[in-house]
């Protein structure tokens, strides 16, 4: 045993036990680091990638004011409208299966040129005899269109409280920016409405 330690000691400057512990600690650091990366790193990273590529159409780039002025044509003549390729924008509104509300777009689809601002309303109705809270989550297809569908006013990701029996119109104002790839003929904007009512006590 002694001879062994001696030889190792001659071979390595640090006594093996200390060296082992040092390596153990740094490897444990890697383990903890990867765990932290998985929980606190990957979801934000994924969201950033989604934002960049429009993957899954989850995050919709909010329009800044400069964006709007640069991109939006205030006046579009009929001639321009004729010349320009129109993009078909479809709207879908769904509720999650256990959500009793009704939720529909007032217009199923609209054809519009890039740069033109458009207002769309959605009707949401709470048929139950209880006050409830809903929240709509958007999704856009195809993914390449996500970055170019700019919303000026939107109700998504916002909690919508509705009283028993109440009906309300939710407004979406958006435009398609000029960088919209020309090979996308149709863009679908789908909302899914989820029940966010906190279970009341009793």
């Amino acid at each position: 045993m002694n001879k062994h330690t001696n030889q190792i000691a001659k071979h390595n400057p640090l006594p093996p036990r200390k060296k082992n512990l040092k390596l153990l600690v740094s490897l444990s650091g890697v383990v903890v680091g990867m765990f932290v990366f998985a929980i606190w790193g990957m979801p934000p990273f994924y969201n950033a990638i989604c934002k960049l590529t429009g993957l899954n159409g989850k995050v919709i780039a909010p329009a800044s004011l400069t964006d709007i002025s640069a991109n939006r044509s205030s006046q579009i003549t009929d001639k321009q409208r004729m010349d320009q390729h129109l993009i078909n924008v479809q709207f879908i509104a769904d509720t999650e299966p256990n959500m009793p509300w009704s939720f529909q777009p007032d217009l199923r689809s609209v054809r519009l040129p890039t740069g033109e601002q458009k207002q769309i309303t959605f009707t949401v109705h709470n048929p139950t005899d209880q006050d409830m809270v809903g929240q709509a989550i958007p999704s856009i297809s195809p993914a390449q269109a996500v970055a170019h569908l700019k919303k000026i006013e939107c109700f998504c990701f916002q909690q919508q409280p509705l009283k028993a029996g109440e009906t309300r119109q939710l407004t979406l104002v958006f435009y398609l920016d000029k960088e919209m790839p020309s090979n996308i003929p149709t863009v679908t904007l789908a909302y899914k409405l989820f029940d966010m009512t906190k279970p009341s006590a009793g």
């Binding site: 045993m1 001879k3 062994h4 030889q7 190792i8 001659k10 071979h11 390595n12 093996p16 060296k19 082992n20 390596l23 153990l24 490897l27 444990s28 890697v30 383990v31 903890v32 680091g33 990867m34 765990f35 990366f37 998985a38 929980i39 990957m42 979801p43 994924y46 989604c50 590529t53 429009g54 993957l55 899954n56 989850k58 999650e96 929240q135 989550i137 993914a143 390449q144 990701f157 899914k192 989820f194 966010m196």
Partner: protein, 526 residues
């Protein structure tokens, strides 16, 4: 202190000896292999004929889920850790593993982890609730919002398995870094040590990610977060990214040590040095590196953007290059050799052939447009069983037969072992080869029942399944005779005629404490 050691139960409970712990890992792994195999046979019994004959679809899903989990985390990975424990110190001339007490803990966590998992399926088998039923990939939201209550036990169990694997991996790295005998430079290490070193790095990089995935699941289920739930702004697809970021390196964790075993066995029985040792090391390292950038090839149908699909397709195809190098090196090692065909060699040759078939079907799966048809079909099932059963597990069996005389000091019953080999070889192909074709014809994975067009082949697949399962009883018999009854001719120190490496310089059976005095390595031993 030469061969003195405690006896009885406390020897096994408190042991810090790498050979004892290695044996326990191997026994545990074999028990899990039989358990998971029994589940596979229940699955095949249900699928033998169309219609539901034996179990209901929910229980069928529990069977596929626990079969996958037990085979991956209970059979293949602990078998490799067991072989590492036994062989790495002996191969690098170390007296034991670097962190013996941690070694003991990392083993004894496993029985508890699997008791939890198997407990839930045993309870379910008697009609009490549902065990995890969402597949071994446990995609959200099937495993979160829609998971049975036992999912929480499953999460706990996966955490334990992860901790055990991480401790095992750290131990391997520390041992290899700090405990090599003088003269045992990195480029003189046997390939089994090399492949295990790389595997251990993969393990400490990705097991925490798996732990992260199940932790996020737990938080989604009970603490109101929405990592994987669209309702709260999360995304179920994120789960798949996290899972496969773990899952793809995991696939290589389950094959790299087998590469090392085959690279030890082929030169011995070809009586010729391993061809291209440095390129083998570099190929292993590149496979490990590439495994981190191919994960989304499991997700070609979730709707990735074109650029993503292209990137992951190219990266996946690229893995074929280092894998090809390995196969060519093995063939070149056999070329112009002086071969004999003892049982370890038989398993190794079967490994090279069948793993290559699995690799080639993997290359087909990499082609994204064709994958639109392959994805989630039995073609995929055939592919990963070729690489995991006739790949990883045949590699483990080759290693067990190769080193068994060194462990026990007696030559095992070769007649019985050959019977085991031939039965396994024929049955494994009857079991998995036709799966390619039912998959191509459109049979999807994880179904308890199928349209009539798939009936003929499924019958034969089931026959193969029962045959392969029963063949493993022969392995049990061989190991029983050699280890318990100690029947057989006394093995020499070298055991096999031209086996080379430090482990063959020790007497057979290897003494309880080996290399208390480190040997000095002058020349390459591979």
């Amino acid at each position: 202190m030469s061969d003195h050691h405690p006896t009885g139960f406390s020897r096994w409970l408190f042991t810090t000896n790498h050979k004892d712990i290695g044996s326990m890992y191997l026994i545990f792994s074999f028990a899990m292999f039989l358990t998971g195999g029994f589940m596979a046979m229940v699955i095949r019994a249900e699928l033998m004929y169309p219609g539901l004959q034996l179990i209901d679809p929910n229980f069928f899903n529990q069977m596929t889920t626990t079969h996958g989990l037990i085979m991956v985390f209970g059979a293949v990975m602990p078998a490799f850790v067991g072989l590492a424990n036994w062989m790495i110190p002996m191969m690098i001339g170390a007296p034991d593993m670097a962190l013996p007490r941690m070694n003991n803990w990392s083993f004894w966590i496993l029985p508890f982890a699997f008791a939890i998992l198997i407990g839930s399926i045993v309870v379910a088998a008697f009609g009490g609730g549902s065990a995890p039923n969402f597949g071994w990939t446990f995609y959200a939201p099937l495993s979160t919002k829609y998971g049975p209550p036992s999912t929480d036990f499953f999460i706990f169990s996966v955490h334990l398995m992860g901790i055990s694997s991480i401790m095992g991996a750290i131990n391997v790295i520390v041992t290899i870094f700090n405990m090599r005998a003088p003269g045992m430079t990195f480029m003189r290490m046997p390939l089994f040590v090399w492949t295990w070193l790389i595997t251990a790095f993969l393990l400490i990089a990705v097991m925490p990610v798996l732990a992260g995935a199940v932790t996020m699941m737990l938080m989604d289920r009970h603490f109101g977060t929405s990592f994987f739930d669209a309702a709260g702004g999360g995304d179920p697809v994120l789960f798949q990214h996290v899972f496969w970021f773990f899952g793809h390196p995991e696939v290589y964790i389950m094959i790299l040590p087998s590469f090392g075993i085959i690279s030890a066995i082929l030169p011995t029985f070809a009586r010729k040095p391993l061809f291209g040792y440095p390129s083998m090391v570099y190929a292993t390292a590149s496979i490990a590196f590439l495994s981190f950038v191919v994960w989304a090839h499991h997700m070609f149908t979730v709707g990735l953007p074109l650029a993503g699909n292209l990137f992951f397709m190219y990266m996946t195809m690229l893995i074929a290059v280092p894998t090809g190098v390995k196969v060519f090196n093995w063939v070149a090692t056999m070329w112009q050799g002086s071969m004999t065909f003892e049982v370890p060699m038989l398993f190794s040759i079967a490994f090279v052939v069948l793993f290559t078939i699995g690799g080639l079907s993997g290359l087909m799966l990499a082609i994204t447009p064709a994958d639109q048809q392959y994805q989630d079909s039995y073609f995929v099932v055939a592919h990963f069983h070729y690489v995991l059963v006739s790949g990883a597990i045949f590699g483990i069996m080759a290693g067990v037969y190769y080193w068994l005389p060194k462990w026990t000091g007696v030559m095992f019953n070769e007649t019985l072992a050959k019977a085991h080999f031939w039965c396994s070889l024929v049955m494994v192909n009857l079991l998995f080869f036709p799966m390619h074709f039912v998959g191509l014809a459109g049979m999807q994975r994880r179904i308890p029942d199928y349209p009539l067009q798939f009936a003929d082949l499924n019958f034969w697949i089931s026959i193969g399944g029962f045959g392969f399962g029963l063949s493993q009883l022969l392995l049990l018999a061989v190991v029983w005779q050699a280890c318990i009854q100690r029947k057989g001719k006394k093995a020499t120190a070298q055991v096999w005629e031209s086996a080379e490496g430090l482990e063959w310089t020790l007497p057979s059976p290897a003494p309880y404490h080996s290399f208390s005095t480190p040997p000095f390595i002058k020349a390459a031993t591979h």
